[in-house]
Amino acid sequence: MNKKAKILRTLGVVSAAAATMVSMATTSGASSAKAPIKIGISLSLSGDFSADGLAFQQGYKLWAADINKAGGLLGHKVVLDIVSDASDPTQVVTNYQKLISNDHVALTFGPFSSLLSLPSAKAVSRYGYALVEGAGGAPSVFQAGLHNIFDVSLPVANDLVPFSKWISALPANVRPKTVAYVTSNDPFTQPQVTTIVPTLTKAGIKAVYNHVFPAEVTDFTPIADAVAAAKPQVVVLGSVDVPTVSAFMQAFEQSGFTPKVFIATGGPDQGSTFIKAVGAKNADGMMVPNAWYGGSSNPLSQKMVAEYVKAYGGTPAGVSSDVVEAYSVGEVVAQAVKATGGFDNAKIIKYLHSNVTLTSAQGPVKFNALGMNTTPTAFTFQWQGSKFVQVNPVNDKNSVKVLFPKPVWGK
């Protein structure tokens, strides 16, 4: 063997040894890292609830980014497996079945709306999974008696109670005399509206219109015109989304009708989405019940809002309440995973039922036997100029004076 061949052979051996060492090091490194943990979520990325579904997706993604920045869940990187259900209660069931049996997700987070949360919880309960959700607070969700559902948000039935107390307590000479109740036949809206009817009736506020409309309605003009023709001083609208509220507002304006008080159960809480749809001037005086708003003093909320604004732009007032509802789901599950030391759904369910008080950007979370969050307080919020402010309960230190009567449209 000549000198050149010897050198080449030596180089070859050294290269092979180096390659082997690199390979071993790589393999060793890979085996020491923890595998990512998959979380399955069905969201309404199309269909009637798509705007809310998109906001929920933002909330979940924001939480996942935060938890991964902090080292993941028990050292596992979080990967969200999000599929679209097109706002369909049948598709949502198929989605969770697929997520669990095909995608083998370790945990499941809830979809948007009570309409979809209930069938989802039933579906995942068959696999022994917990369903922690942020937008399924209707009584019908809890009345199902499921052991695996946990709603981190405010139960909806009493959402309008502070509003009804405020209006009933107004001096008789300024208190409105008539009211219209008009609501979608949705499990989120109807309980809220029916709850306050006795209180307002007792206060002498007479119902001049009281009707339910189908959830699938897209042309609200004739319904809004009928409400306007009844000339109520207060309008209580059971709405789930922005399009419903904006359609009523537009029809009222065209009819030359401005109620003294206009509260909608959902829509005005959607921040910049609502303002874009109706215009800032028209939003003035619009009210909505909720347990959270972008200006909340809760440090967890302020942190989340700052991160949201950094990621998506806008202002705190423009942050949809859907975002924080989704984000809070992640926060609550992270605490349960940490406390139970793993991803065993049975242990997580048991832990969440243990009367423990958890923290979230929406405030404290404590579940009763039905999975209902027992700690939140209902507030009423109102658009005043470009600000979204808390106005009820009246005696709360963060409440400002209600803009009453509501200004004429566009003024």
């Binding site: 199309s46 798509s50 897209t218 015109d225 023709a229 904006s246 874009k276």
Partner: protein, 294 residues
């Protein structure tokens, strides 16, 4: 219930119904000439609305002026869809296949719109959109009245084209019998392509009015197509007059029932009427018997 509420409901039914009639006319024209059930008609209406939105937001072009751009654009979109997808359908399964193909087209357009405009709802704005005038106690929104006038003008133009032009003769001949029309020298393929373009072009106008009176996103198309299909079934598949009458009738009946009884019965009342009509006349109000047999 008071008289103002009743008159308002009647007004809403006629004004809004005329816009639905316009959108449904395009759908029934396409079916009549081509035996194609265009499930993409709903998303094309929304595409028309988004075109108006883009022109308004980015180029500050008024909604009605923008129609001078959006109607020809949608006509071209229709021609492209017909050439790329519909024109390739042949044989006895053509109608059934058209449902699948146009649904696929619908999903493609929906996906593209979601990516471009997100799923957030938008609404077309204009100084006149929320304004109204009153006659007695009934208020008429300018945009609804303009929509009614626009629908009337476009439907009249469509009728003029069908009954006063040589091309209209070809269309009517194709509507009556494609084979016979071809035998007398009519280029049925060309007529079909142009009719598909016209059927899609009217969605620009319908979409603009719809977008100015409702918040919308791409998924709004599902509600629209279900309404449009029921309109042309009631009017009679392929019947232009039937689509117009059924369009106005559907909204009118729903609105009146909503005021007299309750909004919860609005949709159902229309379907009750639809069921009764189909029991008596399975081909719809003005449909051809052959449609039912086929």
């Amino acid at each position: 219930m008071n008289s103002t509420a009743l008159l308002s409901a009647a007004k809403d039914g006629i004004l809004t119904g005329s816009v639905y009639a316009l959108m449904a006319t395009g759908l029934t024209l396409i079916f009549g000439v081509m035996d194609i059930i265009n499930l993409a008609q709903g998303i094309l209406v929304i595409l028309g609305a988004y075109l108006s939105y883009a022109l308004q937001v980015h180029l500050h072009i008024d909604l009605f002026v923008g129609l001078l751009i959006t109607i020809p654009t949608m006509f071209i979109v229709g021609i492209v869809i017909e050439r790329a997808f519909i024109g390739r359908l042949k044989g006895p399964e053509k109608t059934a296949m058209s449902i699948l193909v146009t649904y696929a087209v619908s999903l493609l357009i929906e996906g593209a719109l979601n990516m471009t405009f997100t799923t957030n709802d938008v609404q077309l704005q204009g100084s006149y959109v929320n304004k109204s005038f009153a006659i007695g106690s009934v208020h008429f929104g300018y945009i609804y009245v303009a929509g009614f006038v626009l629908a009337a003008v476009l439907l009249s133009a469509l009728y003029f084209m069908l009954y006063r032009t040589r091309f209209g003769v070809s269309v009517r001949a194709s509507l009556a019998d494609q084979t016979s029309a071809a035998l007398v020298g009519i280029d049925v393929k060309r007529v079909s392509t142009i009719c598909f373009g016209i059927g899609v072009a009217v969605t620009a106008a319908g979409g603009m009015i719809y977008g100015a009176t409702n918040s919308f996103n791409a998924s709004t198309s599902y509600d629209l197509i279900s309404r449009l299909l029921t309109i042309i079934v009631l009017g009679g598949m392929g019947s232009l007059g039937g689509a117009m009458l059924a369009g106005v009738g559907m909204v009118f009946i729903g609105d009146m029932v909503g005021v007299i009884w309750s909004p919860i019965w609005s949709s159902m009342s229309y379907f009750v009427v639809l069921t009764i009509v189909l029991l008596i006349r399975p081909q719809g109000l003005f449909g051809k018997q052959s449609v039912r047999v086929a």
